[in-house]
Every structure is written in C-alpha cells, then in structure tokens.
C-alpha cells in the first residue's frame, strides 16, 4: 500500500473519468499539493458541545442518543473572515472546506499540519477515510495548549495523505452513513452498519 507522491496525486486529479478521478474540490492553489499530501482548509460549519445537564452520552441507548442532541450541541456557520476562538482543552467538530471524492483504489488518512500541531491544535482523531468516500470530512478539533487559538474558515489546518490500495471491486467501496456530507456531522449511531449490536452490548436489545 504505497503513499501517492505529488506527481501521482496530480495525475489522478487530472483524470477526466470521475469514477477514477481523485477529487479535492475546490483547490484554491496548486501549492496545496505537497510532496506526498494535500493541505486542507477549515470549512465554515461547526458543532460546539455544550456544558449540559444530560447525565451521560450512552451510545447503546437507541431511544435517547439522538433525542438529546439539541441539549448537547450548538450548530453554527462561520462567515467568511469571521473568527472562532478555541479555548484550551475544548473539543469542537469542524469540517473541511474541501469536498473529497476518492476512487475505488485510494484510501486516505487525515492529520494535523505540523505548525498547527506545535500550537497544540489537533484536527482529527478519526483519521481513516475509506476508498469511494465522497464528502467533506468532519474534523475533531481539540486545543491541547494552554492558551486560546483563533480559527478562521479557510485556514489550512490539516493534510490528506493518499494510499493506493488493491481493490477487489465494489465491496471495497465506502457506502457509509456519512457519504455526501457537506457540513460537520454528529455521530450517527444506529444509522446502519454494525451499530445494531451496540444495544446488545449495553444490555438494551
């Protein structure tokens, strides 16, 4: 499973057949493509967890996990050039400005850029993106430093690293619950996949 370098990334981006094309859109400048990665920017949609009186988030409880969302989170959209201050030890959900479309033979990982990492900003904890995925990526942004960090939509906070994978056809392609997302997304427990067993593990089946 090799990592794509700049030339390979560009070659796959130039592909005219959309089913084979590696698409990261919009690219504002070719300089976003690094030696073996593509820099990605912070989008405008964010979800802010609230201090709340909900006793706990129990993902095995199908009945309440989605009902309490409005008590747990605020959603907002940052305007162009507007500032969001991320305070120490705070987690927010953000989104990439870029929309991604991976061909069936490319797997992707998302990670912080080193300069931002040194400031204490972590951009993603769930870093794997499956082949065939389409959509903007939800970022888990955490400030691990001791001082607040100002964020603006458009800042290049992360990078995508692409890995070529041998594909055995459609089985390998992502058809999950987050496909075609364009905004920061809350977890979608019980929306398919293997989540049915969550209730079993929590003794609620």
């Amino acid at each position: 499973m090799g990592v794509l370098n700049r030339a390979e990334i560009k070659e796959r981006m130039k592909e005219s057949d959309y089913s084979k094309k590696l698409l990261v859109t919009p690219l504002l400048t070719e300089n976003q493509i690094d030696a073996a990665s593509v820099n990605i920017r912070l989008g405008s949609s964010i979800i802010i967890p609230k201090k709340t009186y909900v006793d706990q988030q129990d993902v095995t409880d199908r009945r309440t996990i989605h009902q309490v969302e409005h008590r747990l989170y605020d959603r907002t959209k940052l305007k162009h050039k507007s500032k969001f201050v991320l305070h120490p030890n705070h987690l927010i959900l953000g989104v990439t400005f870029e929309y991604l479309s991976l061909p069936y033979d490319v797997f992707c990982t998302i990670m912080s850029r080193s300069s931002w990492g040194r400031l204490g900003l972590v951009v993603a904890t769930a870093a794997a993106v499956q082949p065939g995925y389409k959509g903007c990526l939800t970022l888990e942004l955490v400030n691990l430093s001791e001082s607040p960090i100002a964020l603006y939509p458009g800042l290049p906070v992360g990078q995508l690293v692409f890995h070529e994978v041998p594909s055995k056809g459609a089985e390998a392609v992502y058809r999950g619950r987050y496909n075609c997302s364009t905004e920061a997304e809350l977890p979608k427990f019980f929306a398919g996949g293997t989540d049915e067993e969550l209730a079993f593990w929590g003794g609620k089946s």
Partner: protein
C-alpha cells in the same frame, strides 16, 4: 380606588414600557449572527425610530392608544430583524444576492438585508417604507422624513434554511423585480398604460353598459388589478432575465397541484389591497420567451453539449414537455360576496385575449427598458456547456462548483450556471421514472440541495481568494 380614572396615562405607561422592551430586544441581538452587514442598518433604523418616538416633543401630542397600536405593528419589523441570523440563512447565497442587488442599485442606492419568514415562498418587503407607514399617525412627517431619507432599505425574506429551498432560489430574481419596479414605477406604469389603455377603454364601456352608476368604482378596481398583474409580469421578466431557465422550472414546480389556467383578482375595500395574478400558463408562456428556453433546449441537444454528458440533452427534452399553453384561461374574482365580483369577471373574461396581447407588448417594451437602465451586466446568458459540466458532477454526487479548464484548479462556476444545473437535476429526480420511491427521492434531492449549497460557498470563496491572489 378608581381603576377607571386615567386610562390614557395608563396606556401611555404601557407603551413606554413596550418601547423599552423592544429597544432592549434589538440591542441584545448579536451582530456576529447577522448574515450581512446590512442587517445592522435595519437595526439602526429601527432603533432610531424608537428613539424618535420617545422624544418628549413627539410623545406629548401623541394619542396613547394609537401609539400602543402602532407599537404592536412595529413588533412585526422587530421580529424580522431578529430573524436575520446566519444560523438559518446561507451567507454565501445572500452574498451572491448582494452582488445582484448592487448591479441594480450600486453602492449609493437602497440597501437590502435578509431574514427568514415562516411563509413557504420568498417575499420582499420595502422595510423603510413600511416603517414610515407605521409611524405615520404618531410622528410628524418631518420627523419621519428625517428618519428614512437616505436610508432606504429592503428586506428579502427567505423561506427557510438554504438546503431545504433550492427550488426557491430562482425566485430571488422575481422578488428583486419588485424593488426595480418601485424605482422605475413611473416609466413602467406609463408603458403599461400605453399598451393596455385601449383595452381598458373598452372594458369601461362594457361596465357602463351593465350599470353606469357603478362603472366608475368598478373600473378603478379593475385598473388597480391590472396594475398588480403588470407588476407581477414585470417581476417575472426580471426573474427570467436574471436566472434563466431555473426560474421557469421554479415557477413550473410552484404550479403543481394548482389550476394553471386561472387568473385571479382578490378584491378588497381598500384599492391598494386589491391583489391580482395572471395564470401560471400565461406566466410560464412569457417566462419561456424571456428565459430563452427554446434556445437553451436547442443548444443542449447539440453534439457538443451531449459530448459532455448525455444528461443535458435528456433534460432539455424534459424542459420541452412543460406546458405553456394558456388558451383556455379564465378569470375568477374573489370574494364572491363582493357585489363587484361578478360584473368585473363578466367584462374581463371576454377581453382576456386582448389583455394578454397588450401585456405581451408591454413586457417587450419593459425588456428594452431594463436593458437600457442596467446595461447587460446582471443579465448574462446561462452557458449550456457550463451547465452540462456541472450536471456531470451532480450525476456523480460531486458539488457543481467547477467548470474544467486547462488547469488543475478549474474555473469557479457562475452562480446562475450552478442554479440552473441544480434546478434541472433536481426536477429530473423528482419527476424521473428511475428515481425510486418517495424516500429515495427525498434522500437524493437532499443530496443535490446540500451539494448546491456547498457549490455556492466554494465558488464564492474561490473567487474572493483569486481576487486577493491576483489570479
């Protein structure tokens, strides 16, 4: 204790309390939430109005009861400013709207801000005029003039959040048409009079033959209705010129489940409240001409367009099936209990065809006017090839934001090209046989709406970035 001793003073204190509460409500709004800076103009204007009402020189002569009533009317406007929040309004969409608006009115003309409405459709409100109307009986004219002069402000009320109202986006052009109509009312009404006048002379003669004693009032009510119809058609013309086929598709979707061949007049005791609308059939017929539907269809069927995606030709065929027939149109007048309803209906129905021809000529002249007033800047034709490229992306669940060029970055798509590609694609999903059941259609149209909203954001940012980078 005599509770009935001084009601005016009691009502005045209630009024002053309501002014304080309203003032506080408006001051507490977070400007960070306003989708554009124009919302701040709305707040400032409103707060200035409250300050003026509070001035002792103005409060003294006021009738407290009238003041109290007017303050309740003002709550409607306060509510509009409160509903001007980026939480539910797509700022990229309204920034595009601002660009269209400034093409019409420039930097020094009237301004516009954006709010939500619980209604289904979009509507535009002449905010500063409405404010002045409410203040009419409580402030002297000089104070009202001082308040609103050089602060002309409109409010476009959007139906809901951006990803649920794709079919309504194209109606923005129609709504802006009302503001353009306001600003050129004299010239437009004069043209309407020139084209429709002869028909109205014959209508007056018919009314006199029915009942000469009632003819004058009925005629004035008809004139008011025709004025309303003329304004609606003018706005349709603007909508078609600005948004192209997307506006045609949008109006077609509005007509679903409604009679397409009915012209409506709703009478009211006050002339200015008489409302009148042409039939959907006639409106679609007119819009199809001004949105150049035939040209779009023919170009979309060309080999060059089909080589990008066959879908564009298929959709062009679909557009051709939209009915624009208006031969069986009839006019209905409401309420039936109004004694004028039947005679008005009886004199206008036989002259409907004459009226349509005259209105067609009027629109032709209006087309010339608006192109002269605004050059061609806001009215560039939609490129079929750009639309085809964007359809290709939508077919693959990719935002319709880029038209390929010979670079890796591509060219950010035009607002109207995105709008048209999305409108075509969405309508195909809703009506196409291969779109699955209701749930699947809902899921797929939801994706198109999200991708479209994303495309507006992405292209807006990309163009701003390119401008900054000098590309």
């Amino acid at each position: 204790m005599d509770f009935d001793v001084d009601q005016p003073a009691a009502v005045l204190s209630k009024s002053l309390s309501l002014i304080e509460k309203t003032d506080l409500r408006l001051h507490q709004l977070d400007r960070w939430q306003f989708p554009t800076s124009s919302s701040e103009l709305g707040r400032e204007l409103f707060l200035s109005a409250l300050a003026s009402v509070r001035e002792p020189a103005h409060l003294g002569p006021m009738d407290p009861v009238v003041l109290y009533n007017r303050l309740f009317s003002l709550q409607e406007l306060a509510g509009i400013i409160e509903r001007s929040s980026t939480d539910r309004i797509s700022w990229p969409l309204v920034r595009y709207c601002d660009e269209i608006w400034s093409n019409f009115f420039g930097e020094n003309g009237p301004k516009i801000f954006y709010a939500l409405t619980p209604e289904y459709n979009y509507s535009i409100l002449h905010f500063s005029k409405r404010l002045a109307d409410i203040l009419r009986d409580i402030l002297p004219d000089s104070a009202i003039q001082a308040l609103v002069s050089n602060r002309e402000l409109y409010c476009l009320q959007l139906a809901s959040s951006e990803d649920e109202n794709l079919p309504l986006y194209a109606n923005i052009g129609h709504e802006f048409g009302h503001a353009v109509f306001d600003h050129h009312e004299k010239a437009i009404v004069s043209e309407l009079d020139a084209k429709v006048g002869q028909v109205l002379v014959r209508v007056l003669s018919d009314l006199q033959a029915i009942d000469a004693t009632q003819a004058s009032r009925r005629f004035r009510r008809i004139c008011q209705a025709v004025l309303g119809i003329g304004e609606e058609l003018f706005c349709d013309l603007l909508g078609a010129l600005l948004m192209g086929p997307a506006f045609f598709l949008s109006l077609f979707e509005f007509s679903w489940g409604q009679a397409r061949d009915v012209w409506t007049i709703r009478l009211s005791p006050e002339f200015q409240n008489i409302r009148a609308y042409p039939s959907f059939g006639f409106r679609l017929h007119c819009i199809s001409q001004w949105a150049k539907i035939e040209g779009f269809r023919s170009e979309a069927s060309s080999e060059a367009a089909k080589s990008i995606t066959q879908k564009v030709a298929e959709l062009a065929v679909g557009v051709g099936t939209i009915p624009v027939n208006h031969n069986s149109d009839v006019l209905r007048v409401w309420p039936a209990s109004d004694n004028d309803a039947e005679p008005i209906r009886d004199v206008l129905n036989p002259r409907l065809n004459e009226l349509k021809i005259a209105l067609g000529e009027y629109l032709h002249e209006c087309d010339g006017f608006v192109r002269k007033w605004y050059s061609t800047k806001p009215f560039s034709d939609v490129s079929v090839y750009d639309v085809a490229e964007l359809l290709l992306r939508l077919e693959r669940n990719i935002p319709p934001n880029i038209v390929p060029d010979n670079t890796l970055l591509g060219k950010p798509a035009e607002f109207t090209a995105i709008l048209n590609a999305s409108a075509l694609f969405r309508l195909d999903l809703l009506t196409g046989e291969g779109s699955g059941d209701g749930g699947e259609r809902l899921r797929q149209t939801g994706i198109v709406e999200r991708l479209t909203a994303k495309a507006f954001e992405a292209t807006f940012i990309q163009r701003e970035f390119n401008r900054w980078a000098g590309q």
